[in-house]
């Protein structure tokens, strides 16, 4: 019977309830893909809300979106795409057992995440400074002082409501990403990953790619679309 043979050659990292290493690795991958599906579905609800606001108040959205800084948004887009690239290099390094390259690429990825959050902080501060916030905190006086066109629309705070909700939830994912990437980096330093046991690196990589992917949709929709 297969289970008794397998137990002779099974590596220590295979959990007791799996028959083979392959079973464990493919389970972990399938689990991660399902998780990514739930993430995509969760954000899809917010995208729906965004499109509804656009449809209800197209002129307001056009004017309000001009307030978002395209340069900062663009920088963040480049930073995230680059970090996705270094993440992919890291996964590849784990696959071929290049310990040094794995650690270096993980560190660059984490650094990119911090840069992203730093730029986000600058952007958020500017919005808060001008009172461009959701309904409960929207400051009409400051906003009118900042831009008369903005104040002429009745429902301007809706745009900043959905802006802060979408980028806030995305930012939360970036912060969680920093956490799990750091955890993977610590494990990598402990030399836990080998060319046949690196599924954790791969899964965190997938997570990082979807965080990147969500931003690639958020950026044009919020900052660029006319």
């Amino acid at each position: 019977m297969s289970s008794s043979n397998a137990s002779n050659e099974r590596p220590a990292w295979v959990a007791h309830h799996f028959d083979t290493a392959g079973q464990q690795v493919s389970s972990a991958k399938l689990g991660m893909w399902l998780f990514l599906a739930t993430e995509a579905l969760m954000f899809s609800g917010l995208f729906l809300a965004y499109f509804l606001i656009r449809k209800l108040h197209p002129d307001m959205v056009l004017v309000a979106s001009e307030e978002l800084n395209k340069a900062y948004g663009g920088v963040n887009t480049v930073v995230l795409i680059f970090s996705s690239f270094t993440m992919a290099l890291g996964v590849r390094a784990a696959q071929v057992g290049n310990q040094k390259s794995l650690e270096r690429n993980l560190m660059i990825t984490i650094a990119c995440a911090f840069i992203f959050m730093g730029v986000k902080y600058i952007e958020y501060s500017a919005k808060i400074h001008h009172g461009l916030l959701p309904w409960n905190f929207f400051d009409m006086e400051k906003a009118a002082h900042h831009s008369a066109a903005l104040a002429s629309f009745e429902y301007t705070p809706m745009f900043f409501g959905i802006y802060f909700t979408m980028t806030g939830l995305h930012g939360l994912h970036v912060v969680i990403g920093i956490g799990v990437l750091t955890w993977i980096l610590i494990r990598a330093r402990r030399r836990e990953f080998t060319p046949d046991n690196y599924v954790a690196v791969e899964n965190v990589g997938l997570y990082w790619h979807i965080v990147d992917l969500v931003w690639i949709f958020l950026f044009p929709l919020l900052y660029l679309v006319k």
Binding site: S27, G31, T38, M42, S44, L133, Y155, M158, G161, L169
Partner: protein, 540 residues
């Protein structure tokens, strides 16, 4: 079905490790299943007692012992606890956890630690929902409709966060089960040799993974609405309150299939095992579960026939809703065909399966009245809806759950229960249930609106019958509890296979050993190939 004949000398999972801590940090799916079972049954009792309070208040037309505000809070809590803390986790998380790896011939679910984590997430959610009681309670109904829910002064944020967190528990359980079904099947357990219970749990798990994220984002938006206010659900702030209903029902309609599909799975097992006959239409039943899961995502608009959605949308949603009846009827007819010519044993699980066939059919057919546009205008928001919903949820899921509890109780605890007491409980539940909710069809048809603490005197007669029925139902449910508790304490030791089942959970010790099987079984035939079936004379 398997070559498993090893006699157990290993201790069972119940005593393999000792002490409270060994339970609290266990990653054994059977123990986690039992912890879920205890927790869900506790909340079933809490929410059930709330229902008895409601029915008792409704015994007379006027106000008796609850103010309108208290009544609102009690029915909200009844609904929220029943749905989010009992029905959704009851069959998948409690029974599914116990059975899934056993039925697949696996040692555990794919992610045992995640399994334990989702149990604790469930516990946190439960504590939060209960905390709303001391934080000003909740009066929105379990549906949290805006704009009321974004303006009322009660503890909406706490409650929605509680449900939000319960949703994560549900997602993680579903994800775990999907991966388990794909990756953990024993050699020889092909898709077409999986017990129908597994098919049902698999379809349920798919819905849990794909629909619950929408609930999460909906409730998150509601919280943000109250804290920051985007205005998206509030017309005064530029939004649209019907959008909330779309969001909510896009999850909550599939969620009723999260609640009822596992019940279908249980009934498939009960009927075939206790009539000693191969299930009729195995593939049809299996695939109809998946078909229901798919269609369930396309019918949410039937909750908004009178909420101002477009006429075309109404017609389309009505049509697709009718389409759900097809796979559902395939199941019911297959169960009846299985009974035909079978050697039926009138055990307690079989009594519950029979009750299910009756009550669920009534629940399903009255759904057709509500999916018909014109009759829905008349019946919308009346007791007819309440009765329909309870015939499906209680008459479907809860009855199946009770049947399954009696069916697998010997396997879980290694003891038998008293058959006569079980049968009497089934009788009481059947009578009590139909008296309680059958009358409500008439009340609703006569125009009694739901969610009112007082009513016009002409409804008094039917309300009183319904209330008396609820007391009988409660007595039946307490008898179930006492029968099982007495079985636990005084019951005879159960043999490994008391019902002569063929699926894999009956091929290991009773109660099972910690790692389920001494040797992973090799399976060469289907889960319903009972040895006494004479394939030559019984034309298949």
């Amino acid at each position: 079905m398997s070559n498993q004949t090893h006699d157990s000398v290993e201790p069972s999972y119940l005593v393999a490790k000792k002490g409270l801590l060994s339970w609290l940090i266990t990653v054994d799916h059977k123990r986690i299943g039992l912890m879920y079972l205890v927790a869900t049954l506790f909340f079933f009792m809490v929410a059930g007692l709330l229902a008895i309070l409601l029915r008792t208040e409704l015994f007379t037309p006027g106000q008796d012992f609850m103010s309108a505000q208290t009544y609102n809070q009690v029915f909200t809590l009844h609904g929220a606890i029943m749905v989010f803390l009992f029905i959704i986790p009851s069959v998948p998380a409690a029974m599914g956890n116990f059975l899934l790896p056993l039925m697949l011939g696996a040692r555990d679910v794919a992610f045992p630690k995640l399994n334990l984590l989702s149990f604790y997430i469930y516990c946190i959610a439960a504590v939060m929902l209960v905390l709303t009681l001391v934080m000003g309670s909740l009066d929105t109904g379990w549906t949290f409709y805006t704009p009321y829910s974004s303006t009322t002064g009660t503890a909406v944020i706490m409650a929605t966060l509680g449900v939000f967190i319960a949703g994560f528990s549900s997602i993680l359980t579903g994800l775990n089960f999907v991966v388990t079904v794909h990756k953990m099947r024993a050699p020889g357990v092909t898709w077409n040799r999986m017990p129908l219970m597994i098919w049902a749990i698999y379809a349920t798990a798919l819905i849990q993974v794909l629909a619950t994220p929408i609930l999460a984002i909906t409730l998150m938006l509601l919280c943000i609405e109250r804290v920051l206010s985007i205005g998206i659900f509030d017309p005064a702030l530029g939004g649209d309150p019907v959008l909330f209903q779309h969001f909510f029902w896009f999850y909550s309609h599939p969620a009723v299939y999260i609640m009822v599909l596992p019940g279908f799975g249980i009934v498939s097992e009960l009927i075939t095992v206790h009539s000693r006959k191969h299930i009729f239409g195995y593939r049809a039943i299996a695939l109809s579960s998946v078909a229901i899961a798919v269609i369930s995502f396309l019918v949410w608009g039937h909750h908004m026939f009178v909420s101002g959605q477009s006429e075309l949308a109404g017609v389309v949603f009505s049509f697709i809703t009718f389409a759900v009846a097809v796979p559902t009827a395939i199941k019911v007819l297959s169960w009846v065909a299985t009974l035909y010519g079978g050697s039926i044993r009138y055990t307690t699980p079989m009594w519950y399966a029979m009750i299910f066939l009756w009550t669920f059919t009534v629940g399903g057919l009255t759904g057709l009245y509500l999916s018909t546009l014109s009759t829905d205008v008349h019946l919308h928001d009346t007791y007819f809806v309440v009765a329909h919903f309870h015939y499906v949820m209680v008459g479907g899921t809860v009855i199946a759950f009770l049947g399954g509890l009696f069916h697998w109780f010997p396997k879980m605890f290694g003891r038998m229960y008293n058959e006569r007491a079980g049968a009497i409980s089934a009788l009481l539940v059947f009578i009590g249930f139909n008296v309680t909710f059958g009358t409500q069809f008439f009340l609703g048809h006569q125009g009694m609106p739901r969610r009112y603490y007082a009513y016009l005197p002409e409804y008094e007669y039917l309300h009183q019958i319904s209330t008396v029925g609820s007391w009988v139902l409660a007595a039946g449910l307490f008898l179930v509890l006492f029968t099982l508790l007495a079985g636990l304490k005084f019951g005879k030791h159960a043999p490994a296979n008391p019902w002569g089942g063929v699926s894999l959970e009956w091929h290991t010790a009773t109660p099972p050993i910690e790692h389920n099987f001494h040797h992973i079984p090799h399976v060469e035939s289907g889960p319903y190939d009972f040895p006494e079936i004479d394939w030559d004379s019984a034309k298949h």
